[in-house]
Point group: C2
């Protein structure tokens, strides 16, 4: 397996900030991007953290992503936010969108944001976890370059269009769902390709629609929706939320941050949040969540399973461990960060 | 295969009304229940239409479902509806909930309803299709008796908790998703049992967690979530929406309309709708939906697939065919309707 280098979350964040600032990103904005990417690494979503930074940094350096976007928020109704990301870094646009959502939620109890002209933003759950801490149930999605074949098609049409959701859970870490609507995430396929490993059967087909375990053939071919036609339907719904409703681009027209030399990528995002207290006293809601989780924990398990977990439970454990003990980055990612100029912050100097 | 009897939608509806009215349901309410169940049959969702009526009618006759509920709607915020179904028939409670949602949406652009103390309501999409015709994107779910094992568990904990969604699609019939978060719906397992057919492998396990194709063993055992851990996570999220948020019962505590002789079943529902025009001019939205669908239709297909369809497309075709040519009911369902006293309305007299 790949060698790893353990880096503290703080050092990782500082390195990411230095790399982005050196390419013209204002320090405060770089801090937002770095924090959100490292938050994904802390959770163990290694494909959506600093793994993405070289791509982001190069796109900023090349002017393909706007280092100084004017992100605008307009609204026709107090809860309905239309946000134009001005081709800014995805994590920055997503954070600003959630700022606006949470502000609207404080006044109106509910808000929906349809975001266009953004870029790839990493892990969806990172942005909405703030909403859980503000007493909200929240949903998020994002589109991405078309890699997923709708059921019945021999062509890419949907992005890996995640569904993310958070729910405050009282004394427990928030219930947190964050799933690609494809069976495997594109970045997991890329990681397998980089590491020379096969991908599980069922994730993808080659360009002729034949199932494959070869990550290179998958990248030339198509990913499959998770759960067959049901997952395909959910991927379509997320494509509407993130590409039709916002007046932006659907996945079929979104470009790749790696290769979008002709025009901005045009990713879209969707966020929805509402206050639990609109329905129940938050203390009662917390008690009800805790009771449901306690009953889940007490269920008899299949062989090899110590305890049934709720979505977000493992991620919270990993996050606490990595916050205390550092993040084990693959050496390849650390090498990339050093070569981009983050070596001093990592305590590793230059290559 | 089962013999079928073709019945017009009008006759089917009149038979259902007669059966419910004879058991004490007010005529206007019986009309609502009959219309929504027959709407499921029109769409080809045969397991969620009049297939359910004998169960509903017997529960009303036994007093296990309230024939004259006082359905109450309260709100802490203009968009947040807390609805108590007073143990009324599920389709009636769901229709009244959507009445309240659509009224709130006309004033505020968005509404969410958390419904408790209801009963099984048939097919979720039927209730929210009205929202699509009112220019809304809408979501719905419902809980149900625990039949589904969370990933890792050897026990039932979630209902088949559907996810339903509608989106207006311009000149096309609405985009309509309506999927159980279990791999197979419980009523499909019951139908297979009634017809002496096996169920597909992957739908269920026996009570020891061993995969089975025997519908009887499945009903004694557990259904599986669709798409593995991802579907399990979605089932959990729907359980929160339909059983925690509403102050009612989670699936683990919901009873079966067939067997709930000790207390009301206590099913919960969830509805969310918002106006498309809060984000885009409806004509522009329609054009964007039409363009996306036209592009989907033009995708190259896998062998044996004539054209890629969007969710709701087949249902709309079936509905038009059955509206024109009648609904092909299995003879067993027609026999049940006749024995319950609907023979005259079906033109079949009594048995």
């Amino acid at each position: 397996m790949t060698d790893t280098v353990v880096v503290s979350a703080d050092a990782a964040r500082r390195a990411a900030v230095a790399i982005l600032v050196a390419r013209g990103v204002p320090a405060a904005d770089a801090e937002v991007v770095a924090r959100n990417l490292v938050a994904a690494d802390l959770r163990g979503i290694d494909t959506h953290g600093l793994f993405c930074l070289p791509e982001y940094a190069n796109a900023v350096a090349d002017g393909r992503i706007n280092a100084n976007p004017e992100i605008s928020v307009s609204r026709s109704l107090p809860w309905a936010l239309r946000i134009d990301g001005d081709n800014g870094l995805g994590p920055l646009v997503a954070e600003r969108a959630m700022d606006a959502v949470l502000e609207a939620v404080e006044s109106h109890g509910i808000a929906v944001a349809a975001v266009r002209r953004s870029n790839h933003y990493g892990a969806a759950a990172v942005y909405i976890e703030r909403a859980a801490h503000a007493g909200c149930i929240a949903l998020a999605s994002a589109n991405a370059i078309a890699m997923v074949a709708p059921t019945g098609a021999k062509a890419r049409f949907f992005g890996t269009n995640p569904i993310a959701a958070v729910v405050p859970a009282g004394k427990y870490p928030p219930f947190t769902l964050d799933m690609a609507t494809s069976d495997g995430a594109l970045r997991k396929v890329r990681k397998a390709l980089a590491e020379g490993r096969p991908i599980p059967l069922g994730w993808a087909t080659d360009k002729d629609g034949v199932p494959t375990t070869d990550p290179a053939a998958a990248i030339d071919g198509m990913l499959l929706p998770f759960g067959g036609a049901k997952g395909s339907g959910l991927a379509y719904l997320m494509d509407i939320f993130t590409g039709v409703l916002n007046g932006g681009l659907i996945s079929a027209d979104v470009r790749n941050n790696f290769t979008n030399h002709d025009r901005p990528s045009g990713n879209g995002h969707f966020f929805l949040a509402f206050k639990v207290e609109a329905f129940l006293d938050p203390a009662e809601f917390a008690e009800r969540m805790e009771s449901q989780i306690a009953r889940l924990h007490a269920l008899p398990t299949l062989p090899g399973v110590a305890q049934v977990r709720y979505p977000g439970e493992r991620v919270a454990q990993v996050s606490a461990e990595r916050m205390a003990g550092g993040i084990p980055y693959p050496k390849r990612i650390v090498d990339d960060l050093v070569s981009l100029g983050g070596g001093a912050e990592l305590g590793l100097g230059s290559i």
